[in-house]
Symmetry: C2
Subunit: 258 residues, 2 copies
Amino acid sequence: MTGRDGGADLKPEGNTPVVILVRPQLAENIGATARAMANGGLFHLRLVAPRDGWPQSRAWRSASGADRILDAAEVFETVDEATADLHHVFATCPRPRHIVKTVLTARGGAAELRAITVRGLRCGLLFGPERAGLDNEDMARADALIRYPLNPRFMSLNLAQAVMIMAYEWYMAADATPPRTLMTNETHVATKGELDNFMRHLITELDACGFLRNEQKRPGMVRNLRHFFTRGEVTEQELRTLHGVVSELSRSRGRPSG
Amino acid sequence: MTGRDGGADLKPEGNTPVVILVRPQLAENIGATARAMANGGLFHLRLVAPRDGWPQSRAWRSASGADRILDAAEVFETVDEATADLHHVFATCPRPRHIVKTVLTARGGAAELRAITVRGLRCGLLFGPERAGLDNEDMARADALIRYPLNPRFMSLNLAQAVMIMAYEWYMAADATPPRTLMTNETHVATKGELDNFMRHLITELDACGFLRNEQKRPGMVRNLRHFFTRGEVTEQELRTLHGVVSELSRSRGRPSG
């Protein structure tokens, strides 16, 4: 989607959840996990018994610059060792298991991660190996399970994609971007007075050229034009352009511009 | 995260947004895109001028069974052709550009996609090439931009990860999973009466063995035990187990069980 950003700015910020890959198989997925973590503002990566050992240069090649996360990754033999210094552990789990455990959505889990970390407690997120997922012993060590609401007809979720969704929800849980806004750059959204000024200009010219000569239809036509121009936000710059369009179209007809 | 699910159940369901990859470079990313689409319940894939041509067997190898999406993918020469039959087009865009355009978050965009598709209108989602992203001409064809709130210090988002986030938000926009629940399987959450019955059993045995012999401390100790056992939901099965634990511990001391 975009080129590399280098990742030079990556560093541990405050108390962020630890991503724990349990028995990961493919180094490429470990690298892609680091990249996804960087996207979501996570930094701490732990590996439990990576199948092909550690470090693996292929991980760095697939991290797209999130090298510092891989450089700082810690390796453990067991889940118990990897979680010993943590206060809360959540286990991602795609399927129902025969255990009694709290189940959170990714969004619900992210909200709890935020609520726990602001208390100064350390959280960990367990992700299982690519093929089999976490086993029952791993899940028995978790305070709660996180199960993503996703298409039950196609459950095969890539490991780094699973990390991406949690990293995204972690970031979103503290994000205040309005869901809809108008990007205006150097210009500003026009006021209704500025829009009305343009409408008067337009109507004057349309009267002059005869477009509105049908007196019976004129009010409805003017109203419909106003409906169109108020359908979305319009900027001051766009209104200046529209004034110019109307003026130039009028001039090219050989009439004086309004 | 899990093994393959085959993807035999994948089929177009109702009116779902079309994912349009513009000038994609890597076949692996096209395959991973199909997998992510399947995860989020999307089906319709269009490719605009894929760099290495189409089809590419590497795409199928990285789709993890989402073959039907790739089999049905359509190829176009231009964005105009790929969007000609659509009513609304959103363009994913990681950076601010010098254009005036509505900007949505992924979540806000997903809500609008749902609102538009229930009206029977067809939507498309444009994703740009891996390195450069969409160009200004591509974005001028979109009704709105979608920009993900993600770590501004690390903007390098993998193409299939970008698709995953939108597919996930599309799925979530219609999902009603409670953010927190207790998975209980065959058993049920116990009532307060059942819990109280266990507390009486426990206290009876603790009185019998002398654990609560300090009359002054007894009320506080009992209250603290009650606090502990009411901290989270407990199931009927767990209460039966706890009754058994108390009975057996009492019996092994040579005392009659309560």
